[in-house]
């Protein structure tokens, strides 16, 4: 009986195996590293250093291997120091190569990090017999290799990065935005750059065992780029990037355990998904809202064009049908029909199966459009010194900004005729 119970308990706990205490620890720690990656990623993205993020990740290999050689184990303090040293060496070497040779910075980065990475691989092959360095774990990450010491490293490094960035927020901001002026103010721009590089190497090392060298750069630039889509404030970008980094790490971990996928790639895919969402849905820069805005503007312009066409035709005594309006406004029949429907619901138009006409409200609006058009033409000729023959097309677009017509009128001193001699309707009311 007792045996059976134990069996049942075992079976039950199998479902919980992924969500053990250990798993929670790893998830929380990865989320912390995600925050640090996201925050530092903002600087990487804004300073256009994505390549150097990748470079740092690769270049820490020789540092890690040398530390491994010296300490004869993968103790984290040694690894961290080795990685930090290698990371800073990369930053300094890149700086030196691009300063003292004709090579531009991007190529310098390429030269330096591939050389260091190659050195690392050669060093691995030169390791004494009996000492095994797991290159695959370094490249692709291995969550099973994450030990308690690694977790501690994450817990220490991530908050330290956030703290340093908070303390140096203003100098870091100006030296990223305007390094020349920052230097002119006497701020240690180069030192701040190396500080960022140092923090980046440390963070990369902390995240290395979960994501691996190849993908760790994604955790740096993807959440930050997603945040960049969504805001025009620097501190908001930093906060969002930290949030996205944490979210990618935590969600990625969960998804990986549920679907039995590797953790690093799962995190990166979540981050890329967040980025795609940000690109599509950002209210100010997003594709979707941009489309909607443009569509609205187009509809606005087209409906006003139809309105004007009807007014012109009525004025000339031509019968107003869908066909004549379409040819006058040079628009398709279907388009004109849907615009007429729209204008009818707005109470600007009357339409039956044969004829269309304007309500008094519609007529007033059409007159306002014509006033706007003629005022803009006058403005273009008088202020922008355009030729009279060239202004019509421009005014066709500008007239839809009729909210500004009164201001144009004011600036031009209330002209009564446009450049072609046509009367400008007076301001209503």
């Amino acid at each position: 009986m007792v045996e059976v119970l134990a069996q049942v308990e075992m079976d039950w706990s199998q479902w919980l195996v992924p969500f053990t205490e250990r798993w929670w620890q790893e998830t929380v720690c990865s989320a912390l590293v995600g925050v640090a990656c996201g925050v530092l990623g903002c600087f990487v993205v804004l300073r256009r250093m994505a390549l150097i993020g990748d470079a740092l990740a690769h270049a820490v290999l020789p540092g890690v291997v040398i530390a491994f050689m010296l300490t004869r184990n993968s103790g984290i303090v040694g690894l961290l120091l080795g990685a930090l040293f290698a990371g800073l060496a990369t930053a300094v070497l890149v700086n030196l190569v691009s300063r003292y040779s004709r090579t531009k910075e991007d190529s310098s980065i390429g030269i330096v990090f591939t050389a260091l990475f190659a050195l690392g691989i050669v060093l691995i092959s030169a390791l004494p017999r009996g000492l095994h360095f797991d290159l695959k774990c370094f490249l692709f990450g291995d969550p099973l290799a994450v030990g308690t010491a690694d977790l501690w490293m994450m817990v220490v490094i991530a908050p330290a990065v956030v703290l340093i960035v908070t303390l140096l927020y203003h100098p870091l901001k100006i030296s990223s935005f305007d390094p020349v002026v920052a230097a002119a103010m006497g701020l240690p721009v180069l030192l701040l750059h190396y500080l960022l590089m140092g923090m980046l190497s440390a963070t990369v090392v902390a995240g290395l065992k979960t994501t691996g060298v190849i993908l760790v750069v994604a955790m740096v630039i993807t959440p930050a780029s997603a945040a960049y889509q969504l805001t025009n404030r620097f501190w908001v970008m930093l906060s969002l990037a930290g949030l996205f980094g944490a979210l990618s790490a935590a969600l990625g971990m969960s998804v990986a355990f549920v679907t039995n996928a590797p953790t690093g790639p799962a995190m990166v895919l979540v981050a890329a998904g967040l980025f795609a969402l940000a690109v599509l849905l950002s209210p100010s820069h997003g594709v979707v809202f941009d489309r909607i805005r443009r569509r609205r503007l187009n509809q606005h312009i087209q409906s006003e064009d139809v309105l004007k066409a009807v007014y012109r035709l009525t004025e000339a005594g031509t019968p107003c049908t869908v066909e004549t309006v379409a040819s006058d406004a040079s628009m398709g029949l279907g388009r004109v029909r849907s615009m007429i429907d729209r204008l009818r619901t707005q109470g600007m138009m009357t339409a039956d199966s044969a004829r269309v006409g304007l309500t008094s409200q519609g007529e007033a609006h059409a007159i306002e459009m014509i006033r706007s058009h003629r005022l803009w033409e006058s403005y273009l000729v008088e202020r922008a010194q355009l030729d009279v023959s060239a202004v019509h097309a421009a005014a066709e677009r500008l007239e839809h900004a009729h909210g500004l017509a009164d201001e144009v009128d004011e600036q031009l001193g209330h002209p009564r005729f446009d450049p072609q001699g046509k009367p400008i309707p007076p301001r209503k009311g």
Binding site: L168, K173, I174, D178, A184, M185, L187, P188, R233, F234
Partner: protein, 282 residues
């Protein structure tokens, strides 16, 4: 050193708009900028040679010259961003590093990353960082100063707008406001009229006139030869100073021809010879 401190105090007072002419002790003090025999070379090729001049207080100084004449380099040399191979720069009689904060730089707008997530107000507030050091944070005082600076350039209504969404002239005014927010007494401007329409150019000149009337010294690198008469003093530069002095004396056809025409070919040839001759050139 102590005279420098007095100077700094005096000048803070002078920074206020109501300055009785002749009362300011700074007028008798050391010149805002004094460059003596400055020489700068890139890769052994001289960009500036024996440049010496003094910019007096409360003057609008224009620097004109062809491309590659070293105009921007001269500004950067004054700011300590480019190392002098020989010569000295003194600001109010002191080495620059003692007095950096009082010199503000307005860079070329094409050097600015307009997609950086900052608003007009953020940019202006950056001016205050010069006085805050590494760990300082702008507080109420700095924010008020930034507001005042924005007001001075007529950009208060645009404080919260992202810099990408400002027109060329507005962007220029925001960067001027940052220099004002730095509470600097010397402003160095690199091509402030690039990409700016005539009306805005006028507005910026008016603003500069107001600043010089307050006792600030402005040095402006400029491309456009049609507005030379707006400057109090003019420097014609082509690696060396061709002429420097009151604009009406300097802006002559002869001088401009000297600056822009035949590019000192003998000197250039001399340089090439020297470079091939050996290391004594360096």
């Amino acid at each position: 050193m102590s005279s420098g401190t007095t100077q700094a105090v005096a000048s803070q007072v002078v920074g206020a708009p109501a300055q009785a002419p002749g009362l300011a002790p700074a007028d008798t003090g050391p010149a805002p900028i004094e460059v003596v025999n400055a020489m700068v070379a890139y890769d052994g090729r001289p960009v500036l040679r024996s440049v010496s001049f003094t910019a007096p207080k409360g003057k609008l100084v224009g620097i004109v010259g062809p491309n590659g004449a070293g105009k921007s380099t001269l500004l950067k040399a004054i700011l300590g961003l480019v190392r002098l191979d020989s010569g000295t720069v003194r600001v109010f009689g002191l080495p620059l590093k003692n007095i950096r904060r009082r010199v503000a730089y307005v860079p070329q707008t094409e050097a600015v990353d307009w997609d950086f997530p900052v608003t007009a107000m953020d940019v202006v507030l950056m001016g205050s960082y010069a006085g805050l050091g590494l760990f300082g944070r702008p507080g109420v005082k700095q924010r008020t100063e930034a507001q005042v600076a924005l007001e001075q350039v007529g950009m208060t209504d645009f404080a919260d707008r992202h810099i990408r969404r400002l027109s060329g002239g507005q962007q220029q005014r925001v960067f001027l406001a940052r220099a004002l927010c730095q509470q600097a007494d010397i402003l160095l401007l690199d091509e402030p009229f690039a990409g700016v329409d005539a009306a805005t150019e006028q507005a910026i000149f008016d603003l500069m006139d107001r600043l010089t009337a307050e006792g600030k010294t402005l040095i402006v690198v400029n491309h456009d030869l049609s507005v030379l008469d707006r400057f109090d003093l003019l420097m014609l530069l082509n690696q060396q100073i061709v002429a420097f002095g009151p604009t009406e004396h300097v802006a002559t056809d002869e001088n401009l021809r000297l600056t822009y025409g035949g590019r000192l070919s003998l000197l250039e040839r001399a340089d090439t010879t020297l470079q091939h001759a050996g290391p004594e050139m360096q």
